[in-house]
Symmetry: C7
Subunit: 100 residues, 7 copies
Amino acid sequence: MPKLSKTVIPMMDRVLVQRIKPQQKTASGLYIPEKAQEALNEGYVIAVGKGLVTQEGKVIPSELKEGDKVLLPPYGGSIVKVDNEELILFRDSEILAKLQ
Amino acid sequence: MPKLSKTVIPMMDRVLVQRIKPQQKTASGLYIPEKAQEALNEGYVIAVGKGLVTQEGKVIPSELKEGDKVLLPPYGGSIVKVDNEELILFRDSEILAKLQ
Amino acid sequence: MPKLSKTVIPMMDRVLVQRIKPQQKTASGLYIPEKAQEALNEGYVIAVGKGLVTQEGKVIPSELKEGDKVLLPPYGGSIVKVDNEELILFRDSEILAKLQ
Amino acid sequence: MPKLSKTVIPMMDRVLVQRIKPQQKTASGLYIPEKAQEALNEGYVIAVGKGLVTQEGKVIPSELKEGDKVLLPPYGGSIVKVDNEELILFRDSEILAKLQ
Amino acid sequence: MPKLSKTVIPMMDRVLVQRIKPQQKTASGLYIPEKAQEALNEGYVIAVGKGLVTQEGKVIPSELKEGDKVLLPPYGGSIVKVDNEELILFRDSEILAKLQ
Amino acid sequence: MPKLSKTVIPMMDRVLVQRIKPQQKTASGLYIPEKAQEALNEGYVIAVGKGLVTQEGKVIPSELKEGDKVLLPPYGGSIVKVDNEELILFRDSEILAKLQ
Amino acid sequence: MPKLSKTVIPMMDRVLVQRIKPQQKTASGLYIPEKAQEALNEGYVIAVGKGLVTQEGKVIPSELKEGDKVLLPPYGGSIVKVDNEELILFRDSEILAKLQ
């Protein structure tokens, strides 16, 4: 998990995620050319907002927590740069699944 | 049902489905050319999310459970690869019917 | 009503319908050419889902039941093939009227 | 009001209406050419559904009843043929006004 | 206010309005050419429906009553002809303001 | 604030606003050419409707009152002419901020 | 934080933000050409509206307060000029995250 100089607290039902980078070398140490590297749709949860605020003002906390490994949608999310680290902010409802 | 190295827990009202592959051989063992194979819109439920979260924060569990045989819509769903196995994540409300 | 090898249980507020085929012969036995056959917008209800699930999780059962004769909308519905029989899945709210 | 061989029971908040045909002859018996006949946007209510089903499953009956004379919107409605009689199914909320 | 041969009862939250025709003559009696006549966006309320029916079936009566002078939106409304008189049906929420 | 011959009572959650005209002369009395005059997005509240009517029929009064100085959105609002005075009707939720 | 001659009170769930300007000089005092200056998506909260008004008229106050450092979305917001200072009005739900 990245050590950030600033704490990023996602607002409402947003979730901050770091995408898992595809393997750059084969098991035997050979470099995999960028084009052959399969874009992974997996990532780690870095931070979770307090939750969805309903029409009645009720807060519905997310199912996710820091450290969870998740399956990401092919589209969506806002890319944000913190300390030159590229992270992504998704809405809780955009995350497809948890991976264990 | 596929043996996956990772457990995939669909989020919210999502359902993980494996599409039933069309028959590749006739009863008498002849290979059916790919074009003649009729795409099946049937599949097995692999995993079910906890359910739809309503505006009041209530959780409405799905009618479906692991192992159910279902009728799939012609479109929709997110294709996800787990251990090179192609699975599909649908919203519970996209599934057309159960088959018994 | 068609004898199906599988039971099809429509999900939620869906209704499975078999469209009534237009008459192919006149009363005196003459064949009506396909173009002259008037597409009927009537059908029989084969199966009914448990009903619409509201935002509060309440289930509102359909007004329809197996065997009802209904008036179908000109568009909409998902065509599904079961045992080579072409059936149509409509949302309960798409059905125009009951015929008695 | 048309004598129909089948009873048509509109579903939910639908209303079955027969459009009033424009006068084909002047008072003194002269035929009015079709183009000069002014399309009337008035009709009679033939049958009324049980009413709008709300998100909580409550049924809100229509203000209209069989025999009411109504003002029709220029667009909308589904044309249905029953015993070769052309009728129109509107949603209750599409009807503009009652005429007395 | 126009004397109509039929009573028009607007449905639900609709309001029947007669648009005020622009002045055709100047104070000193000169005819104002049609192009110079400024289209007025004012009118009189002729009839008011029972009111908006909410999702719970509650009826919210309109703020308007017969005879009110109102400010009309530049667009919207359905033109209806009653006894050759051109009137307009607006939704209650389309009316901009009352004029006193 | 303009003296109007008619009272304009905005309907529901509407607010009647008069846009503040940009300065036409510099402090030392020089005329500022129209193009150089910076369009102001500020205005005074002339009148306020009774408020937003919710789905349950509850009325939510506006935060604004007659005489408030407000920040206007770049778009939206309906221009209305009263006694040749150009005023603008906004929805309460379109007003950006109050200025004190 | 800018000293404004007027107090700007955002309406409802709006938040007034001042965008943090990118560094114009390197640590060693060299000027960074405008094109090389990386647009920052960070800003300070100047003022916060009373909060979101729900369908029932309940007010849900914002999570943010004056002085908070926030992460801004790449799009959205209304640019407003106060005392020649360029500020931005966002809806509370548009703000991506808080930075500490």
